[in-house]
């Protein structure tokens, strides 16, 4: 069989190349996640920041890195759900900083346990200004943990608004907790509980 005429080929080739080019264009959020992950690992591995004495300093650095990539306010909105609209800006002003501290704490608790796990980037899907980046974390015991980062595009940059580990969404987990509290008690109780939680000392770095 003769290969199709040259003139029939060029058009399809151009289109084909365009199709191939699409996923390359879509790689931005994954790059952002990669950068942040590398920064976090660099801080955790930093020999100057080891040991319990340096924990405060290390946590401060980790917090700075996380603040660059997380959209805490978006997370706050999502965890409050319908209650978000019910509150005045003043009430939100008390809630959001407390919530951010709690999120940072919860994220740091998870990150602290890092001990050389490998991170593989397995997928990315984008729909308008929203994106999901799938990651497989290979633990040192050979187990795979599937993690998805949900991201939102704002000001030409991508920010994380939810982390889903093995199907468990951080935002959904807090939403169910907040909802359970708010259906039984007033808003002030939630704020009080948040304050108490944030005041608790952080867990030490896990040993095993």
């Amino acid at each position: 069989m003769a290969f199709p005429d040259k003139k029939y080929c060029i058009g399809p080739m151009v289109i084909f190349l365009l199709v191939l080019a699409l996923p390359v264009w879509a790689g931005v959020p994954t790059e952002k996640i990669k950068q942040t992950t590398e920064k976090i690992i660099a801080v955790l591995k930093d020999p100057n920041l080891q040991g319990p004495a340096k924990m405060q300093e290390r946590n401060k650095k980790l917090r700075e890195v996380a603040d660059e990539r997380f959209d805490w306010e978006e997370m706050a909105k999502r965890t409050l759900g319908k209650y978000w609209n019910e509150h005045t800006p003043e009430e939100k002003k008390t809630f959001v900083p407390l919530f951010i501290t709690l999120m940072e704490r919860s994220y740091l608790d998870k990150v602290q346990g890092y001990s050389g796990e490998k991170v593989n980037y397995t997928g990315e899907s984008i729909d308008g200004k929203y994106g999901v980046i799938d990651v497989k974390i290979l633990t040192n015991q050979g187990q795979e943990i599937a993690v998805s980062y949900k991201m939102k595009n704002r000001d030409d940059d991508w920010f994380i608004y939810d982390i889903v580990a093995e199907g468990v969404s951080l935002v959904n987990n807090y939403r169910v907790q907040f909802n359970s509290i708010l259906t039984q008690s007033p808003y002030a109780v939630l704020i009080k509980k948040l304050e108490e939680k944030v005041a608790q000392p952080q867990l030490p770095k896990p040993s095993n």
Partner: protein, 321 residues
């Protein structure tokens, strides 16, 4: 003509995302519409009423065009005109709304999107009992499981613990295999069979997970609880068992079913040794998870709810897979 076929093929390749986008948009519209459909029974009820009125013409004085049935029918057809009364969520435009089945996703005009807030969680009618058992388990964890596991972790090297975990996981093969078959997961059943063969022989009775590292055989963690949900049984409600921990009604039935496929049950060993083996399995498994429970407790406002929701979301993902 061959060349035309090539061009057509490549054109189709290029155009398919558009088709999908269109199909998807239609789907969303339909879901959106379905969500706003007034109760069908309203139509039938009002038709009954109309019939009654026609039978007693004395009370039937309105004109024929605006009977209640006609009204209900036009409500039923003119979906757009039904006002959505629920409030607007701050994240209503999110295409992946935390796995919640929110109907009005993807609407371009944000101002017109109104969605009910569906809290996605598991039913918990026995919450007081579950909370009591949660407290018991919490005490059991700090007074018994944690100290024992700490000592165990100190005296057992990580490699040995990994080996023991692999060994017990390999023994769970019948459960995974049978449940793959029950859910018509042919590939899963094949993979599990291959894993069992390789790991039981080359992997020294399951201690080494050669199948994952060497052969790239994926594990299929199926159990009877998932099988029951596969056949359409819901999760029932949440149950927090003393000692065994979080479960649901369906998963508890599933666990009872799976216990008949546990090789330890049929091993010809003394019942005392069987108990030791199970204790080893439990403590060894816990040695990998010790920090996770405390991290969950530390970051939660209500640890009971946090654990319940984590269990629910985790199982939901497992069923979906």
């Amino acid at each position: 003509m061959k060349s035309r076929t090539v061009i057509l093929f490549i054109f189709c390749l290029w155009i398919w995302p558009v088709f999908f986008a269109v199909a998807d948009e239609n789907g969303r519209q339909r879901v959106l519409a379905a969500d706003r459909i007034p109760d069908e029974s309203a139509f039938f009820e009002s038709r009954e009423k109309d019939k009654e009125r026609q039978e007693s013409p004395g009370s039937y004085s309105e004109n024929n065009h605006t009977t209640e049935a006609a009204q209900a029918l036009s409500d039923f057809m003119a979906l757009e005109e039904i006002p959505a009364t629920t409030e607007r969520l701050p994240y209503a435009d999110d295409p992946w709304p935390d796995e919640i089945s929110m109907a009005a996703i993807g609407q371009e005009d944000e101002e017109e999107v109104f969605v009910e807030e569906p809290i996605d969680t598991i039913a918990d009618p026995l919450e007081p009992m579950n909370r009591a058992f949660f407290a018991v388990n919490d005490k059991l964890y700090f007074w018994f499981l944690k100290p024992v596991t700490k000592v165990y972790t100190k005296v057992t090297p990580k490699k040995a613990r990994t080996g023991i975990r692999n060994f017990f996981y390999n023994l769970g093969f019948p459960v995974r295999f049978v449940n793959c078959l029950l859910q018509f997961k042919g590939e899963g059943a094949g993979m599990e069979f291959g894993r069992f063969l390789v790991n039981s022989t080359i992997g020294l009775g399951g201690v080494l997970d050669v199948a994952t590292e060497g052969c790239q055989f994926k594990n299929y963690d199926e159990d009877f609880g998932q099988t029951l949900q596969f056949y359409g049984l819901g999760n029932g409600f949440y149950l927090d068992w003393p000692v065994f921990g979080p479960s649901s009604l369906t998963d508890s039935i599933g666990a009872a079913g799976d216990s008949f496929l546990d090789p330890l049950k049929y091993a010809r060993i003394k019942s005392r040794n069987r108990t030791y083996a199970r204790a080893l399995k439990g403590v060894n498994g816990a040695s990998f998870l010790l920090d996770e429970y405390e991290a969950l407790k530390d970051s939660a406002l209500d640890p009971y709810i946090a654990l319940r929701d984590a269990y629910y979301q985790y199982r939901k993902k497992k069923v979906k897979e």
